[in-house]
């Protein structure tokens, strides 16, 4: 039996691509090396986590899309009663040209919409909503806000946060989450006001303020402004690598 590299076997196992021969070599290593077996178990969990994380994000993305489009519960019955007049466009060159132009324009806007949405969706990995860090006061229980934020219920998070923020208007982290919720709800003006305020401050979250300000333009498809903001993110920022990556996509 060939002598397989342990790491190679581990990788093949995680991708579900072990051959029969590799599988038997892998089983032997697992049986003889408990530390490796432990690492393989952690690797398995990591892949399981990545798969469920990916599904979770896709569902959230779809849900947001559904809310934005006001999806109907079921197909409208009125749909069936609509009468459609078919016009032979080949007999009408003008109609043909107009239809073609319409298709091109519509495709362009659909492309813009899909690309910016997926681009934003790729980068809107929000920080964990940390209640313990935020609620220094005993009076406020932000667990509902936390749960709502986790589930993508940004309007509920906003309302839960508002009373806390009225008492703690200088809590920058809470402000940041308020801005994120507003961004998710497409309230760009309010969101940008907050991100700009955080960006120009001296808190630990300054770089997140810069980053989210740029993301707000990505989401609104204002790619020129997004580029400008991303280019201003300095190499010291924790978001520098992502900003460069996003710039590459935009360029």
């Amino acid at each position: 039996m060939p002598n397989f590299d342990k790491e190679y076997l581990h990788e093949q196992f995680l991708r579900g691509q072990l051959t029969t021969e590799e599988q038997s070599a892998f089983d032997k290593v697992l049986a003889s090396d408990p530390a490796f077996a432990r690492e393989v178990k952690a690797g398995e969990l990591a892949v399981e986590g990545l798969k469920s994380f990916h599904l979770h994000q896709r569902i959230q993305e779809l849900r947001k899309k559904g809310q934005a489009q006001q999806l109907p519960d079921q197909e409208s019955p009125k749909e069936e009663n609509k009468k459609v007049r078919l016009i032979s466009i080949f007999r009408k060159p003008l109609a043909l040209a107009a239809s073609f132009a319409l298709v091109v324009v519509a495709s362009y806007f659909i492309y813009l919409s899909i690309s910016s949405q997926s681009l934003y969706g790729r980068y809107n990995q929000h920080p964990s909503f940390s209640v313990t860090e935020m609620s220094s006061s005993q009076v406020y229980d932000l667990s509902r806000a936390e749960a709502a934020f986790k589930q993508g219920n940004y309007d509920i998070t906003l309302s839960e946060l508002s009373s806390y923020l009225s008492e703690n208007p200088t809590d920058t982290l809470a402000l940041l989450f308020q801005g994120i919720c507003q961004l998710e709800l497409d309230d760009y003006t309010q969101a940008r006001e907050i991100f700009s305020q955080i960006k120009s401050g001296t808190s630990d979250f300054q770089s997140l303020g810069e980053w989210y300000l740029a993301l707000s333009f990505v989401k609104e498809k204002d790619f020129d402004r997004a580029r400008q903001e991303l280019e201003n993110i300095s190499t010291n920022s924790e978001k520098y690598t992502q900003a460069q990556q996003l710039l590459n996509f935009l360029n």
């Binding site: 790491e7 995680l14 991708r15 432990r38 690492e39 178990k41 952690a42 690797g43 969990l45 990591a46 892949v47 399981e48 986590g49 990545l50 798969k51 469920s52 994380f53 990916h54 599904l55 979770h56 896709r58 569902i59 959230q60 779809l62 849900r63 559904g66 999806l71 109907p72 519960d73 079921q74 197909e75 749909e79 069936e80 609509k82 459609v84 790729r122 980068y123 990995q125 920080p127 964990s128 589930q151 219920n153 509920i156 690598t241 992502q242 990556q245 590459n248």
Partner: protein, 197 residues
Amino acid sequence: MEKKTPLRDDEILAGLCSNRKLEEDRALMEMYHTYFGLIKNHVLENSGSPEDAEDIFWVSLEVFWNNVKQEVFTLSSTIKTYFYSICKYKWLEELRRRRRKDDKNNPLEKDHQEIPADIDISGHMMEKEKHEWLWDKIRMLNQKCVDLLTLFYVDNESMNQIAKALDYSGGNAAKSAAYKCRKQLTKLIMEDPDFPS
């Protein structure tokens, strides 16, 4: 105008397991159009609000999708029966959670018994706590690592394709980065006291 033909159960399952975004989205939206009304009625009739119905629908859809993607998954009933059972179970779970919080009577005790006994949900339910525990670790990685690992382990993309997509100098550079990212993630998992020794 020709009306779109609804997808059959086997077509929905095939779409959900296709690993192709377009087909997955079509199957998921089919689920929405077909079953959201049903779930909404159930939640509204059992002390819930339209917002609760939305939450329960999407959470259950995530559970359903996770389950059908498991290699060992077999559907022993129709999608409607199975999915409806998940939703009822999730709504019941939520009501119980609220009852514990409010210490008030829960009107759904009776309803729980209406879940068909031959539908085994518990075995297929997403292990929510475990996943959230894992997601916390994943969120500690930088975004490029998450993208890289997702493309490699979830989408099964080749290293050369990943290198192009994520701007690495080549397949080997992407491979080496993936190795480091995986090591970083497994380390975070192993160092957690909740990781079984």
